[in-house]
């Protein structure tokens, strides 16, 4: 160990704070100049953290699903009755759905409908809720052998019911999903049976807002909101939510996905559907920039 004189050491300790402050300011500038810099650092950190979070998240998930937790045992009977009633209701809907599916098949056969190819998908567990103060995102653990982190960027994340968000950064073990409620989320949607176009924008609140609908055709309360292929970022027809007018009489979308309690997400990658503005993934820095169509 090097022995320093006392005045020198005091001077050194007094200097660390300003030096670190300069260093941090420099970091802000670097982050502004190279947008990928913080993305790469974040991906590395996420890859490091995802397994650790996965380990800790498992017991929490187990507790919430009511496996052997006492709190859930008290209202088993009421829950059972509610489920039975719901099941009866759903059985009726099942009959309707089967009839509609048969009709749909018949119509498709008449139209010589070409089905869209099934995309590749991963199912991942949401291990961490890593939103910021002005950002909404979750961390999804991927299987350890995710060979194609670059292909995962831009993948569409859906829970059991609807679109939850998009993958903005992906590493070998983790993917960060920007939720549809995030301020920077903009999703072209189709409203109702007519499929009239609009734009769904995140507001950082619970329900994303609807903007830019066709003049003279305001979104109808209760209309289904599906993704639209406009702009080529999303495949058409994925369920997103339902139109609702809030207290200010502005149309918002009530998301189908349970965004406050995401546990499992399916990540569908549509490699040919990447929009031009998708951040350029790390490893294929040079090649993918050229291969992507403008």
């Amino acid at each position: 160990m090097i022995r320093l004189s006392v005045p020198f050491r005091q001077a050194l300790s007094r200097l660390t704070l300003p030096v670190m402050l300069m260093f941090s300011l420099g970091l802000v500038l670097i982050g502004r100049a190279d947008q990928n810099f913080s993305g790469h650092l974040r991906t590395d950190l996420d890859d490091l953290l995802a397994p650790a979070y996965g380990l800790v998240s498992a017991p929490i998930a187990a507790a919430e699903h009511g496996t052997g937790v006492i709190g859930q045992l008290f209202d088993l009977e009421a829950e059972n009755a509610a489920l039975k009633a719901e099941n009866e209701n759903l059985l009726q809907w099942q009959a309707v759905a089967m009839a509609l599916a048969a009709q749909n098949d018949a119509l498709k056969a008449t139209l010589k409908f070409v089905p869209s190819p099934t995309p590749k998908f991963y199912t991942g567990e949401v291990v961490a809720d890593l939103g910021g103060v002005y950002a909404r995102s979750v961390l999804v653990a991927l299987p350890a052998t995710n060979a194609d982190p670059a292909g995962m960027v831009g993948a569409i994340a859906m829970d059991g019911r609807g679109v939850a968000g998009r993958v903005v950064e992906a590493g070998t073990r983790s993917a960060r999903v920007l939720l549809i409620t995030d301020l920077n989320s903009r999703i072209p949607v189709a409203l109702g049976t007519a499929g009239s176009p609009a734009l769904m924008t995140g507001t950082n609140g619970a329900d994303p807002a609807l903007l830019y609908w066709a003049p003279g055709q305001p979104p109808a309360e209760g209309a289904m909101v599906l993704t639209s292929a406009a702009g080529g970022a999303f495949p058409p027809g994925l369920p997103v939510g339902i139109v609702h007018y809030n207290a200010q009489n502005d149309p918002v979308v009530l998301p189908l996905a349970d965004l406050d309690a995401l546990r499992m997400l399916r990540l569908f990658s549509y490699p040919e559907n990447l929009p031009v503005l998708t951040p350029i993934p790390r490893d294929t820095h040079k090649t993918s920039a050229h291969s992507r169509k403008p």
Partner: protein
């Protein structure tokens, strides 16, 4: 010649120095667990501010500036804020706290709490302004209020715990 301290004393001293840093970093990760609580994202910077304020006030040597900068970078990477922003803000907090230290320490707990709330409000406001400028958009003010309320509520609880932790391993007469 000074006698070399025993292994237990060394362990005690090590824990005394590692506790503030370890607890701060561990807490940042812990807040990321998917509890699904409202205001969880707002809690992370508030927690970091409370830790930095408390330790800079009562034991400045245990939280050196490089560690504070690292914490800030970690905060920026975990939550999605422009990298380096919270590093700058936390270092400013540390600088201001160190400057006001001599005047703050003899004051009552209530006054310290009030001062921390003012500092936290100022820093959260600064973060809001900086992020609005960097995003070229007016960010919603609601999270700002949540942060201020959380700062008001969190500090007494955290300080109460820290004061106990600060006394425990530090008490030489108990070792």
């Amino acid at each position: 010649m000074r006698r070399r301290p025993s292994a237990w004393r060394q362990l005690d001293a090590a824990s005394r120095y590692a506790f503030p840093v370890g607890f701060l970093i561990f807490g940042l990760f812990f807040i990321g667990l998917p509890f699904g609580l409202p205001g969880q994202a707002e809690l992370r910077p508030v927690y970091a501010m409370a830790c930095v304020f408390f330790w800079s006030l009562y034991r400045p040597s245990s939280l050196p500036a490089p560690i504070v900068a690292l914490t800030g970078v970690l905060l920026d990477l975990l939550g999605i804020s422009p990298i380096g922003l919270w590093a700058v803000l936390l270092l400013i907090l540390q600088g201001v706290t160190l400057a006001a230290r001599r005047r703050l320490i003899p004051q009552s707990f209530f006054l310290t709490w009030l001062v921390f709330s003012c500092f936290a409000t100022g820093l959260c406001g600064l973060a809001w302004v900086a992020q609005s400028v960097l995003n070229l958009a007016l960010l919603p003010p609601l999270p700002l209020m949540v942060e201020v309320l959380l700062a008001l509520g969190l500090y007494p609880a955290l300080a109460g715990f820290f004061i106990r932790a600060h006394r425990g391993p530090a008490a030489v007469e108990l070792a």
